[in-house]
């Protein structure tokens, strides 16, 4: 749980108060935490692009938002990032489970896994790749401030090696 807990604490201490999500196996513990603690408003959505729309509305009415998603969902969201977030300068924190890299077993995850950083580059979304829970906490805390400074999304990429911190074996 160390990995998920650090992300959760980063979101809370970073002042995130509105979350939309589409699940990923690696986000399971984090989603459970958010649901059970009930400190942050959380709305599950049917598609990542929809999450971008809802979070844009929440931002317009004063919320500090985050979207929890798998990197594959980036592909579902590019047009919203361009024609909504870029056009109106809207911040949000993207907590992305980055599948398709080391340890991946599912062939279908690999192309998007390898293209994720390039896609974020094209979208001019700054991204950070914490390697352990301490880094994740700090980067999420700072990312939640930075997104408001740049008035644009900031992405946190958490790969399979990061999520090993959720297995209590790796300390």
């Amino acid at each position: 749980m160390k990995g998920s807990l650090a992300v959760y604490r980063g979101l809370i201490d970073g002042g995130i108060n509105f979350i939309c999500s589409v699940p990923c196996a690696n986000l399971k513990n984090l989603l459970n935490l958010i649901e059970s603690e009930r400190k942050i408003f959380h709305l599950p959505t049917t598609r990542e692009e929809e999450a971008f729309g809802i979070c844009a509305g929440a931002y317009l009415s004063g919320k500090k938002t985050a979207i929890l998603m798998q990197n594959s969902g980036l592909g579902n969201s590019i047009n919203a990032i361009a024609s909504l977030y870029k056009v109106y300068q809207i911040p949000t924190l993207l907590i992305i489970s980055h599948r398709g890299l080391l340890k991946e077993q599912i062939p279908a995850q690999i192309p998007m896994g390898l293209w994720t950083e390039k896609l974020l580059d094209v979208c001019e979304i700054p991204f950070f790749k914490p390697k352990n829970p301490e880094e994740a906490y700090k980067i999420i805390l700072e990312g939640a401030k930075y997104m408001d400074k740049i008035s644009y999304p900031v992405a946190i990429l958490l790969d399979a090696l990061y999520w090993e911190y959720d297995n209590d074996v790796k300390k």
């Binding site: 509105f18 929809e50 971008f52 729309g53 809802i54 509305g57 317009l60 004063g62 909504l84």
Partner: protein, 186 residues
């Protein structure tokens, strides 16, 4: 019934503090032409997301939020009906102007021209929905929705028609700032 007539009825009936989110393309331009106001959010891109933006706003304010959407856009983001219902939002009125075409791109038919029924889909998601075929009924249902503490979907069946109206000449960031400021002020 034409889309611009539906939008006219909406602006005639909303109070100053109520919020309007309008769909990409001609609907936003028609709203801008009829009545520009700080609490209008003109969505200029992101086809399909007007209802999602409206939902995000409505979940975080007390005023009624009226979304002017289109059938083509609803079909692009059908999950929105399911999420709106799931969220339990109460202060959202989703007006789907169903002209059975992609009006803004030259009136190409949408699937509602054949056998797709948005009212039934919305009902299948658990939403209170009504379909209207004339302006009088629209106004009646819209007023009712403004005065009910419940999310409602009004499907307004219209003919394909785009009013010749100018483009929105406010920079998008300005649309955003004045909208956000108007929410903070009151």
């Amino acid at each position: 019934m034409r889309r611009i007539e539906v939008i006219k009825k909406i602006v005639e009936n909303v109070k100053d503090n109520e919020i309007i989110v309008s769909n990409i393309g001609v609907p936003s331009k028609e709203l801008y032409y009829l009545k520009d106001r700080d609490r209008n959010f003109y969505m200029l891109g992101s086809m399909g997301l007007a209802s999602s933006i409206g939902l995000g706003i409505a979940l975080n304010c007390n005023e009624k939020v009226i979304v002017i959407d289109g059938d083509g856009s609803i079909l692009m983001n059908l999950g929105t009906l399911s999420t709106i219902s799931y969220s339990g939002v109460k202060n959202l009125i989703l007006v789907v102007v169903d002209n059975s075409v992609y009006g803004s791109t030259g009136n190409q038919k949408t699937h509602t021209s054949k056998n797709t029924n948005i009212k039934k889909i919305a009902e299948g998601c658990g939403l209170d929905s009504v379909e209207v075929n004339n302006l009088e009924d629209f106004e009646k249902e819209f007023k009712k929705s403004l005065n009910t503490d419940k999310c409602r979907v009004i499907i307004a069946k219209t003919i394909p028609y785009n009013e010749k109206v100018p483009n929105i000449d406010i920079p998008p960031v300005m649309i955003k700032f004045r909208f956000m400021n108007s929410l903070v002020e009151k």
